[in-house]
Assembly symmetry: C2
Homo-oligomer: 226 residues x 2
C-alpha cells in the first residue's frame, strides 16, 4: 500500500508540473510576475500583505487567496481595492492542504491578468505540501513567525529550501519569547545556504518597506530573466 501511495504522488506531481508550465506561459503572455506566499497557519501572511499592498505605488497588484474554507482573507484584501479571488480547497473530506497548479489555473479567468504587474498567491497555511506543488510562479516567499520556534527549518527543510526569500515575522514579540534569533538564522542557512532573509513585524511595520521593495522589483527581475 505504501508503494502505491508514493506512485500516486509522483504522478500527481508530474501532472502538476505540466499545468504549472501552462500557467507560466499565460503569466508571461500577460506580462505579470507571480509570487507564491507560504507559511504555517497564523504566521501573518495576510497582515503582511495588507501592509505591503496599502502603498505599493506604481505596481498594479492582484491577489489569489487560498484557504480550506471561508473568505475572510479575501475580504481583508478587497477592502484595499485590490483585485482578489478566493480559492477554497474544501472539495475533499477535510479539504486540500495546499494549492496546486490546477486550482490556481481554475481561478485565472477571474483575474484581470493583463492589467496586473504582480500577482501574489497566498497559499494554504501549511509547512509541508505547498512546497511540493509549483503553480507557475516566479518567486516563492515563506513567512516564519518567531513564535514558532527556532527548529522549524530542520523539521520542514523542503519548505525553507524551496524559497528565494524567508521572512521572519512578529519580531515585535522577541522581548517576550525564549527565542534565539541567531539559532533560527543558522538553521535557515543550514538548509538553504545564502537564502535572503528579512526581519519584519506586520504589527509595527518594521521591515515592511524592505519587503515591499523586494516585491515591487519582482516584475523587473522576471522581465530581466525572461
Amino acid at each position: 500500500m505504501h508503494r502505491t501511495k508514493v506512485k500516486v504522488a509522483v504522478d500527481a506531481l508530474d501532472a502538476n508540473q505540466t499545468i504549472a508550465n501552462a500557467n507560466r506561459h499565460d503569466f508571461d503572455h500577460a506580462g505579470v510576475a507571480v509570487v507564491n506566499l507560504m507559511s504555517a497557519p497564523g504566521a501573518g501572511k495576510t497582515t503582511l500583505l495588507e501592509r505591503v499592498l496599502a502603498s505599493l505605488d506604481g505596481v498594479r497588484a492582484g491577489v489569489l487567496e487560498g484557504d480550506v474554507q471561508g473568505s475572510m482573507d479575501a475580504d481583508r484584501i478587497a477592502a484595499l481595492h485590490v483585485p482578489v479571488v478566493q480559492l477554497n480547497t474544501e472539495s475533499g473530506f477535510g479539504g486540500e492542504c495546499h494549492l496546486d497548479a490546477n486550482m490556481v489555473r481554475s481561478a485565472l479567468e477571474d483575474l484581470p491578468l493583463s492589467e496586473l504587474d504582480l500577482l501574489v498567491i497566498e497559499n494554504v497555511g501549511n509547512l509541508v505540501c505547498p512546497a511540493e506543488f509549483r503553480v507557475g510562479e516566479d518567486a516563492r516567499i515563506m513567512v516564519s513567525s518567531v513564535t514558532e520556534g527556532e527548529d522549524k527549518p530542520l523539521k520542514y527543510p523542503l519548505m525553507f529550501r524551496a524559497c528565494e526569500l524567508v521572512v521572519v515575522n512578529k519580531i515585535d514579540l522577541l522581548p517576550h519569547l525564549d527565542f534565539n534569533l541567531g539559532r533560527l538564522l543558522a538553521n535557515v542557512d543550514a538548509v538553504n545556504p545564502g537564502a535572503r532573509v528579512m526581519l519584519t513585524s506586520a504589527r509595527t511595520g518594521e521591515g515592511v518597506d524592505e519587503l515591499r521593495e523586494w516585491l515591487a522589483s519582482i516584475p523587473d527581475r522576471a522581465r530581466a530573466t525572461a
Copy 2:
C-alpha cells in the same frame, strides 16, 4: 484529473480506517489509552508534553513523535526517561504532512505497549490532513496558540471539530498581542459546540495541571466506555 484525485483520497481513507481499527484492537488488548495530539507547527505541543510528563504520577506514559524529518522532539521527551519512538514521514518527495494509521502501526512493535497506561501520539504540525486520518486513538487534542489569531477555527473547521479538547496555548503572550480571546472561543464554539477548552502557557506552567489531570483520566475513561 480532479475526480481521480478525490477517488484516491476516499480509497486511502477506507484503508486507513481498516488499519486504525487494527491499532485500536491492539491498544485495547494491551490496556493502553491513546491520545492523538495535533496542532499547527510551533504551537507548543512538545513543550506542553514535557511539562505534563515531568510529573504524571501514577500513569505510565509513552510517546510516539511524528515529524517530517529529524528527532529533536523525541530527544527532548527521552530526556524525561519516557519511552519514545520517532516516526519520520519524509519518504515522499517533501514528506507526508500527517501521520496515518499504517505509519503508527509500523511503530507499535518498538513501544512497550503492555507496560503503558497512556500513549501520546504527537502528530506532524499541520491543521488540515492530520484531522482526516484516525490512527486508533481514544481521544484527540488540538493545541491552538494565541499567536495564530482568532480566525483559525473558521479556516480549519475539521481540525477543531474533530477534537474532544482544544488547548489554547501561549496565553502568557496575551498582553503583547492584538488578540480577542472571546472571539476565538466563540469561533471554536461555532464549529464544535460544547467542546472542552483549556487555557495554558507551557512557558509559565499556567493551566498545565488541568491538562495533566485530563490526560491522566483518559485511561479510566477509556476503560469505562470499553
